[in-house]
Each structure stands twice: as C-alpha cells, then as structure tokens.
Amino acid sequence: MIEWILFFSLFFLALSILAIIYRLVVGPTAPGRVQALEALGINLIAGVAIFSVWLRSTAFFEVILLFGILSFIGTVALTRYIERGIVIERKQSD
C-alpha cells in the first residue's frame, strides 16, 4: 500500500517537474523563470525525500540539506540581479 502511494507521488512529482521545465524554457518573463527554478529545487528535494522513505535510508538527508542551501542562494542571487542589475554590490547602504 505505502509503496503505491510513494510511487504515485513520485509520478506526479515527475509530471510537475515537466511542467516546471516548460515554464523554465518557454517562460516569457525573467521573474517567472526564477520562480520556476525555485519550484524545481523544491520538487527535487521532495523527490529525494520520498525516495529515501522508499529505501528506508537516511543516507540522502545531506543531499536534501545541500540542495536546499544551493537553491536558496541561487534564488537570492537571481532576485538580486533582477532587482538591482548586479549580483554582488561593492558598497551596501545600511
């Protein structure tokens, strides 16, 4: 029973990743693409988590944490680029 649930959740996660990739490639605006990239990271994290439940293993938890960190920093950098035009500023006003 639980394996069917896990299988179907992985299947629908794959479908949503396909939809996200469509938005990432075709998407008309840059903020939409950034949001699609963030959603892609979230979906991949969910996929790895479901896979580690399926295998009853804790070996992939570091992958989840690292993916979350990299997705967070990537989103911050891209939104900073959209908002101000440069990624790392030389002088920041406090």
Binding site: I69, F72, V87, I88, R90, K91
Partner: protein, 141 residues
C-alpha cells in the same frame, strides 16, 4: 530609485550562514568513510561566504574578513603537495597515507588519518579558487 529594504534577507542570512558553516564542517569531517571530504566541504563554506557577500556587499565583508583568497588557494595547494611528498621521503609512493588510533581528550578513541591533512589542503585550495573566481566575475567596475 527608491532605497531597497532587505531587512528580511539580512535576518534570514544571519541564521542561514551559521547553519551552512556548521554543515560544511560536518561534511569536511565525515569525508573519510562517508560522503563528503575537502572538496565539497570547501564548496559549502564558499556558499556561506557568498551568501554573506550577497547580503552585505564586498566592502563590509572584506573589512571583517581581511584575507587575500589567492594566497589561501596557493597555501592549500602547497599543503596538499607537501603531504604527498612527505611519503616519498620515507621511500613510499607519492600520496602514501597512514592512520592510527589515538586518545583525544573529549572524543575518546579516535581514528586519525594523514589523509585529513591532504583534505585540509584541498579545502583551502577550493575556497580560495572559488571565491577568487566569483569575486572577479561579479566585479562591476
């Protein structure tokens, strides 16, 4: 153009940087038997420092971390090559390694390997090279 307000980002980055730095140390120390090691530990460290650069700007971070990252990269390569050559001095092959069980004060009996020294060099080289590349690319002058 009105002044952007990023107090949420600054507050989140304070907590996230601590988590990422702790995680990078964990990755570095677990590298002998589990996934991890000098390279990925150094990259996680670079992620934390890049987050600080993103939030606070180049000048403020370089005022608080007054380190030339090119020298860090060179020092790391030097440490790695020296740990490789040290085995050759005793007649063993290049990059020969050894390990032993020692009693540490808090950790108790711990397996210590000389590969950790090589990993320290790799981590320093990765940190220096990546931060030099990222700061050179992002320079807007």
């Amino acid at each position: 153009m009105k002044e952007p307000n990023d107090v949420i980002l600054k507050t989140a980055a304070k907590i996230a940087a601590i988590i990422i730095l702790t995680f990078s140390i964990h990755l570095f120390l677990s590298g002998h038997h589990n996934p991890g090691g000098g390279f990925i530990g150094g990259l996680a460290f670079v992620a934390a420092v890049v987050l600080l650069y993103l939030v606070h700007g180049i000048e403020k971070v370089q005022r608080n971390i007054p380190v030339n990252f090119k020298k860090i990269a060179g020092l790391g390569v030097l440490i790695s090559v020296f740990t490789g050559v040290k085995g050759m001095m005793d007649g063993h092959p290049f990059l020969n390694q050894t390990f032993g069980i020692v009693d540490l004060p808090i950790l108790g009996k711990t397996e210590t390997a000389t590969a950790v020294l090589f990993d320290v060099g790799v981590a320093l080289a990765v940190i220096g090279a990546s931060l030099t590349i990222i700061l050179s690319i992002s320079d807007d002058r």
